[in-house]
Symmetry: C2
Subunit: 184 residues, 2 copies
C-alpha cells in the first residue's frame, strides 16, 4: 500500500502500472493480482490506506504532550494536512489524484464518498466541541466547506501555485470565519 501511494504520487492514477508497483513493493505482479484482484482493487485499498494514514498524522500526539484544547485540536487536524513532509506531500498528491480520476472513472466514487463522509464527520465533531450549541446541520455544512477548501488549497499548493505558508494562513482564516458563523 505504501508502494502504491508512492507510485500514484509519482505518476498519477492513470500512470499506475502494476509492473511498476510490483517492482516498488518488491513482490511479483501475480501476488498483487492475487491480493487485489484488479486495478480497481488496488486503487480501493490504496484509498483506504491513505485515508487512514492522513487520520494518523493529523491526530497523533507525542505520548507526553499536554492534551490540546478543542479549538487547537480542530486547527491542527486541518493544518497538519498542509505540511511539507514527504508523507503528507505524497498522501495529498495521491488523494487529489484519486479524487480527480473519479471525475472520469466511476469505479472509486463510492469509496471516495465514504472516506469523505468519515472525514467530514470527524471535523464536524471537532467543530462541535468548540461550538456545543451549534446544530448538527450547521456543523456538518461548516465541516464540508473546511474539508473542500483544504482540498482546493492542497491542489494549488502541490501544483506550485500557492506557497505553503500562505495556504496555512488561508486555512486558519477559514476556521475563524466558520467558528464565528457557528457562534452567530
Amino acid at each position: 500500500m505504501e508502494a502504491a501511494a508512492r507510485v500514484i504520487a509519482r505518476r498519477g492514477v492513470r500512470g499506475l502500472r502494476v509492473e511498476e508497483l510490483a517492482a516498488e513493493a518488491g513482490v511479483s505482479t501475480a501476488l498483487i493480482y492475487y491480493h487485489f484482484k484488479d486495478r480497481t482493487g488496488i486503487l480501493r485499498a490504496t484509498l483506504e490506506f491513505i485515508s487512514d494514514r492522513a487520520e494518523r498524522y493529523t491526530t497523533e500526539r507525542d505520548p507526553g504532550a499536554e492534551p490540546l484544547d478543542p479549538r487547537s485540536e480542530l486547527e491542527q487536524s486541518l493544518l497538519l494536512e498542509l505540511q511539507d513532509t514527504p508523507t503528507v506531500r505524497e498522501n495529498s498528491t495521491a488523494w487529489g489524484e484519486l479524487r480527480a480520476s473519479a471525475v472520469f472513472d466511476p469505479d472509486l466514487r463510492e469509496e471516495l464518498a465514504r472516506a469523505t463522509l468519515i472525514w467530514v464527520q470527524e471535523v464536524a465533531e471537532l467543530l462541535g466541541q468548540v461550538r456545543p450549541m451549534a446544530t448538527a446541520t450547521a456543523l456538518a455544512a461548516a465541516a464540508e466547506r473546511l474539508t473542500a477548501l483544504l482540498e482546493g488549497l492542497s491542489v494549488r499548493w502541490l501544483s506550485g501555485g500557492l506557497p505553503l505558508e500562505h495556504a496555512r494562513e488561508l486555512m486558519a482564516g477559514a476556521v475563524d470565519a466558520e467558528l464565528a458563523r457557528l457562534r452567530g
Copy 2:
C-alpha cells in the same frame, strides 16, 4: 479550442491525443501543430480559452436585465460555476484536469497561476464593492478562499460525491461567512 476543451473534459489531459483533437475539430493534425507547436501549446491555449469562457458565463447578463446589486453580483459570479449545463460541466472538468495535471507536470504552472490570479482579483473586486471598508489584503484572502473552495466543491460535484444543489448552498454559506468576517 472548443474541441480541445471537449476532448479534455471527456478523457482528461493525459488522455488527450492530437489525432482525436484534430478529428473533433475537423482539421488535420498538421494544422494543429502549425498553430500550437506542441502539446503544451495546445494545453496553454485551451487553458486561456476555458478561463475566458468561464468569465463570460459567470458575468453575462441579458441585455434588458436590471443591473444586480454588488452582493448578488458576487454570489452569481461564484454560483454560476455550479450549474448543470454542458458548457459549465465541460469547462469545470477541463479546468480541474489542467489544475490536477500541473501537480505532475510543471509546463502549465505559470499560466495556471496567472489565470488563478486574475480570477482571484475579480472576486476580490466584487467583495470590495460589498465591503468598501475592508483592506485589500483581507479582500484578497477572502477571494482566494472562495475560489479555492469553489474548486474543491466542483471536483466533489463532478466526481459524483456532492449533489449540485448542496454544493451551491455550501458556496452561498461561504460567501455569507466571508462577508461577515470582512465587516468584522
